[in-house]
């Protein structure tokens, strides 16, 4: 009898203390799929939530677009802190704003370093926020969150599918919220985020914004992003075109395996970068493709890619940012020397960098 009573008490306590009374079914929550942080007037912060509408949800269920009705709503909150902004946004809706399924968190490139740090700090502390959400930088948060893709699908789903697909883009520019936390605590590396813009035909993801001290100090062009992607192992479907003896040559599917070696010579870092790239010959107009010609094509492409990579690394040196993580790799092996170094960014800006490219074209005929 005592055992039964104890079991009943334990069951009652478990149910009472489990907090199940606050559980809300999924349809009674406002599922935020995209979250944007941007500056607001008077040194305030703007928080935007992209919430799918009922039309958007049922359109998803039926496997078609939502028709004339918008597939999502934007709920906005403004406040001195993000907490205030969140509270204001929550006050505008009768349902619980749920952050557990956020797919994309967008940071405005116009945020001040303090505001950016404030946002990053809050998101790292916010337990209900899904830390696996993709983090992006964007010039205009409102424009990004308001873009309705022509397919009628929910933007958050499209972006998540895009980021999650390794072979869908030239560069696999995937950054998650937890990567931001990692970058903020790791030494010898600078934070970078993919720069996501709302174009006329949809989202454009082919640029990279490199941060230093909470501010995007460098925005790389698509070509520079691709070149840096070789060094960072992010470029999987790179292309390069050039003229060789009046023949138009194009290579595609360039996939790099980067190796680098850092040594200190006379108090200055020397970085030897080796890129082993494989790819396919996409176009070769005019003339017969002999083995000798193919070797020369490869050599020309190697030279061209090395030049481009060197150029982008020089730009990084000039901006004193190291998104690749040369310094981070070094600190793992020499933490004491790194601590005595003072500023890695300064040292990196003075580093001697040598890039060697080893290209091997494994496919010269099949253009599929």
């Amino acid at each position: 009898m005592k055992a039964w009573a104890a079991a009943l008490v334990a069951a009652a306590l478990s149910v009472g203390l489990a907090g199940c009374w606050s559980n809300r079914p999924v349809e009674r929550r406002n599922l935020a799929l995209m979250l944007g942080v941007g500056p607001a007037p008077h040194h305030q912060l703007r928080l935007l939530f992209q919430i799918p509408t009922r039309a958007g949800l049922t359109g998803l269920t039926k496997g078609s677009g939502s028709g004339s009705e918008p597939s999502f709503n934007i709920i906005e909150g403004v406040g001195t802190t993000l907490t205030d902004a969140f509270a204001q946004a929550q006050a505008k809706t009768t349902r619980d704003l749920y952050l557990g399924q956020v797919e994309v968190v967008a940071f405005s490139t116009k945020l001040s370093p303090q505001e950016f740090e404030q946002a990053r700090n809050m998101f790292s502390r916010l337990g209900s926020l899904d830390k696996t959400a993709y983090a992006v930088a964007t010039p205009s948060v409102r424009a990004l969150l308001s873009l309705q893709p022509r397919s009628g699908e929910l933007p958050g789903i499209i972006l998540a599918s895009n980021f999650g697909c390794l072979s869908c883009n030239v560069e696999h520019l995937e950054r998650r919220v937890w990567d931001m936390e990692t970058a903020s605590y790791n030494r010898g590396i600078n934070l970078w985020l993919p720069l996501l813009t709302a174009g006329k035909s949809g989202f454009e993801i082919n640029q990279m914004a490199v941060y230093a001290d909470g501010h995007p100090v460098l925005t790389l062009s698509p070509a520079e992003t691709q070149a840096l992607g070789y060094v960072m192992g992010l470029t999987h479907k790179g292309t390069v075109s050039f003229r060789w003896h009046d023949h138009l040559v194009a290579l595609r599917g360039l996939d790099a395996r980067p190796y680098f070696h850092l040594t200190w010579v006379q108090g200055r870092p020397h970085i030897d970068v080796t890129l082993r790239i494989t790819g396919a010959l996409a176009e070769y107009l005019g003339g017969e493709l002999t083995p000798e010609a193919l070797s020369e094509v490869q050599a020309t492409a190697e030279h061209l890619i090395a030049r481009r990579v060197t150029a982008v690394l020089r730009r990084l040196q000039q901006a004193k940012v190291d998104p690749v993580g040369f310094g981070q790799a070094w600190v793992w092996f020499h933490p004491g020397r790194f601590a005595r170094l003072g500023s890695w960014r300064q040292a990196f800006s003075q580093a001697a960098i040598h890039v060697e490219v080893q290209l091997r074209l494994h496919d010269i005929g099949d253009l599929t």
Binding site: R24, P25, L31, L57, T61
Partner: protein, 589 residues
């Protein structure tokens, strides 16, 4: 012609006690006479309704006759109320006033012998006794049997016993309590005047249905025969399948009033004797007035009575009972119930069927895996749905969550209420179809599935995904091949639902651990319920989720600790047979 038996017994020649007894008899008759006189007086005085008095008079007559009969027995030399005293008339009165009040009990007084007439009484239960045997083999023979003139009662009795009745099984009995039991069982009782014993003639005719197919455990391949309610038929069917002389039937009678025959069946040279004696001991300890079903015995045989998991398996498949007995288990047959109880069992035993051994091992392995998968779906699908849509919404892939949210848009109830509604509908349909004839049950199932399912979605009470989930759950839970386990999983299903709603995924894991801990703690007559997984017996895994070819299954389950552990020898080697090898050898020679 008046019945002269009373006059044939000289009451006045039996001493003082007999005089007292006769005085008592006269007092019984006297009371009846006085009542009759009183009734007549009343009628003469006035138009009084004397029907009440009439009833008392009738009752008094019965009681008087009964007392007369008992006193007749008491006045015999052995002087015992529970013993037949040799008076056919007294036996007649006694039977007439006890069991004879029922219309199916026939008491036939007749003359024995064609020349010398010897009073006799034949008692039997109409319907339970074979009328052909009564008429042709007993009555006709007895009436035509030539009894010598002036013979002694014991001589006549012996002649009748040895030569007159043409019945296979004849025994003698004198005690009334045993005679009545045998009479009710369908035997015919032959009372002879002056004899000290009664002949018990086996005329039992079992009212039985023909052997049919098993309705609870249908099988596509293999034997289809199922037991009927008759113990004798059950024994015969088992004898046909196990012709080993080691097959033993131990008979018991359970039920203080129903006196139900129960048979404990085992293989003497295989089954662990400790198991047999333990089951026998437990059977003997059953004290009930009535035993009508096998389950009334089975519930006494379980080691743990409060557990949800069944410990005894009940089946009406003859082949399956024979197989389990051959494996070293015991079976308990209960008269009037076609289901035999098999024990001890493990959880895996409830997932084995006849078809598993009647079809190829590939087919069996696939079927068992499907059953296991269906069980997992049945138990976990709905709790996972509840947990992921109500508690741990961050663990579900976004696209799937949005699909669910889209499907649930506008539904007024939370998922837990939907589950309750849907499951209630399923249980009601299930119960209704079980109570209806087969043809109507099919219609009801169709109506329930199509009409109610479609209508409830259209009405917006339940969403589409819930219908799919509930259907898969119901199908999964009902794939359990043994009937006993279905209710177990249905109960546990609700445990999982509640914990999933309260604690989410954590609750499902917690519940799983609790169930596993409970199952591994169960034992049934010393056999671990979760074996061969817990404790792990690698060799016995060959007949669990997968089944190896039968030549590889050579041993009986180790946990049964049988006298003979080996079930078969691996004498047949796989490989091709060369039919022309002999010819080639001859040519070479």
């Amino acid at each position: 012609m008046a019945w002269p038996f009373r006059q044939r017994i000289p009451l006045d020649a039996r001493g003082q006690d007999q005089h007292d007894a006769s005085a008592a008899v006269s007092r019984g008759e006297e009371a009846t006479n006085q009542l009759q006189a009183a009734e007549a007086t009343l009628r003469a005085i006035a138009p009084v309704d004397a029907s009440g008095l009439k009833e008392v008079e009738t009752l008094c007559g019965h009681v008087g006759s009964w007392i007369d009969a008992m006193l007749e027995d008491l006045t015999q030399p052995q002087g015992n109320l529970n013993r037949y005293g040799g008076s056919v008339e007294a036996a007649y009165e006694r039977l007439k006033n006890t069991v004879g009040t029922s219309p199916d009990v026939v008491l036939r007084k007749f003359w024995l012998g064609s020349q010398a007439r010897w009073p006799a009484l034949l008692a039997f239960v109409d319907g339970l006794a074979d009328n052909t045997m009564i008429d042709r083999d007993i009555l006709m023979n007895l009436q035509l049997y030539p009894i010598p003139q002036g013979g002694q009662a014991e001589v006549v009795f012996e002649a009748v016993h040895q030569a007159a009745v043409a019945v296979g099984h004849v025994s003698t009995e004198a005690e009334w309590d045993k005679l009545l039991v045998k009479l009710i069982a369908g035997n015919a009782l032959l009372f002879l005047e002056g004899a000290s014993q009664v002949l018990v003639l086996d005329t039992v005719k079992f009212p039985s249905r023909s052997l049919g197919r098993s309705q609870t455990e249908p099988s596509v391949l293999g034997p289809q025969e199922a037991f009927n309610e008759i113990s004798l038929t059950q024994m015969n069917l088992l004898r046909l399948r196990i012709q080993s002389p080691g097959l033993r039937f131990t008979e018991l009678t359970l039920g203080n009033r129903s006196l139900t025959q129960v048979l404990l069946v085992h293989l003497d040279d295989v089954t662990n004797p400790a198991l047999v004696s333990a089951v026998l001991e437990r059977l003997n300890s059953i004290q009930r007035d009535s035993v009508q079903t096998a389950n009334e015995v089975a519930e006494y045989l379980a080691d743990r009575r409060w557990t949800l998991f069944p410990q005894t398996r009940q089946t009406d498949r003859v082949e399956w009972v024979a197989r389990e007995i051959m494996a070293g288990k015991v079976a308990v047959l209960v008269a009037n119930d076609p289901f035999a109880i098999i024990l001890p069992n493990t959880l895996m035993d409830f997932y084995r069927t006849t078809q598993d051994y009647a079809s190829s091992f590939w087919d069996t392995t696939l079927t068992r895996m499907v059953r296991f998968l269906a069980l997992i779906i049945g138990i976990y699908l709905m709790p996972l749905y509840i947990a992921l849509t109500s508690v741990n919404t961050d663990l579900i892939p976004t696209k799937l969550l949005l699909t669910i949210a889209g499907s649930r848009a506008g539904i007024p109830f939370p998922p837990i209420s939907e589950v309750i509604i849907m499951w209630l509908i399923i249980e009601v349909l299930r119960e209704a179809s079980a109570r209806l004839p087969q043809q109507m049950a099919t219609t009801l199932g169709t109506v329930g599935a199509v009409v109610v399912g479609t209508a409830i979605v259209k009405a917006g009470v339940v969403d589409d995904i819930m219908i799919v989930t509930v259907t898969l759950t119901a199908l999964g839970l009902f794939t359990s091949p043994s009937f006993e386990l279905t209710s177990t999983w249905r109960w546990l299903f609700w445990g999982f639902i509640v914990t999933a709603y309260v604690f989410g995924i954590y609750g499902i894991v917690l519940m799983t651990v609790i169930v596993l801990a409970h199952v591994t703690s169960l034992e049934n007559y010393g056999v671990p319920y979760f074996s061969p997984w817990g404790p792990l017996r690698v060799r016995e895994l060959s007949d669990t989720l997968i089944r190896l070819p039968l030549p590889f299954l050579t041993r009986r389950p180790l946990t049964l600790r049988t006298v003979d552990a080996r079930m078969s020898e691996r004498t047949v080697q796989a490989g091709s047979v060369d039919l022309y090898a002999g010819q080639r050898r001859a040519r070479r020679r």
